[in-house]
Symmetry: C2
Subunit: 156 residues, 2 copies
């Protein structure tokens, strides 16, 4: 965790916790059900020291919870599980995925889809109004809060 | 732009285009209406060489379009405008923002909100089903596509 003053911008605060490519990809694996160090390592082809470093940082920042497990006759090992905060990053990952599928598509099509496990429908990420219905992206604006830091350079 | 083989995962492909903190923050400024080099520099307190580097990369990758303008009696300067692909990152920025406001909230409250400029309502980011209504995040799963790369390690 950084010790400097927290930025006013909530995008920046989120990026303070997951700002590098490996962290996002480790979170993607966690959201697909991966929990064990060796599995993360195999699926991501990531160097063990980098993996250990990123997992420790995400445990420290509260995105993952570390647990111990022991298979019969083997030494104790660690597994990593999404916390509620880590689970909530599902929407961020889904938004990154959806943009990639539209703007830098894989010729053979998507490799992972987002599905409503109740209805079986495929789902998109979008803006949702207070009545629970989709709002077109073109209709949505980012608006600095009135009475917030008046100086534009102050709200970072 | 990277010249290595494109990853199969659409999250990874998106991160190849915007994977660092500065790029996200420059895009945030662009979404708030900033277009001029000097304004980006002032609002972000970013070193000019880093800003120039990131703007050039985002022009190259098609997120921003560079235009020339000239004020009366001054030299020609460049401005930077979101392309359609850059506009579509609104949802990614909004998802990062929403997560930050929930999980690392600013004590004095959010500094920027998302508003439907038609109705004036505040809007959230969420999952949306084919009927245009919100789907709870807990109901949504990431599902590897059947018939896609069978090897889990192959679809990165």
């Amino acid at each position: 965790m950084t010790t400097r003053t927290k930025p006013n911008c909530s995008i920046a605060r989120t990026l303070d916790m997951v700002s590098d490519r490996w962290s996002f990809l480790i979170l993607r694996e966690a959201h697909l059900g991966t929990t064990r160090f060796a599995e993360f390592r195999t699926y991501l082809r990531i160097a063990p020291n980098i993996l250990a470093n990123r997992l420790a940082a995400m445990v420290e920042s509260g995105l993952l919870e570390k647990r111990e497990y022991q298979a019969e006759g083997e030494r104790t090992r660690s597994s990593y599980h999404l916390t509620a905060a880590g689970e909530d990053l599902k929407l961020v990952l889904a938004a990154l995925q959806q943009w990639g599928d539209v703007h830098v598509p894989r010729p053979a099509g998507p490799t992972v889809v987002r599905r409503d496990k109740g209805s079986g429908d495929l789902v998109d990420v979008g803006f949702v109004g207070p009545d629970g219905s989709a709002v077109p992206s073109d209709d949505v604006v980012f608006e600095p809060v009135a009475g917030g830091p008046a100086d534009r350079s102050g709200w970072r």
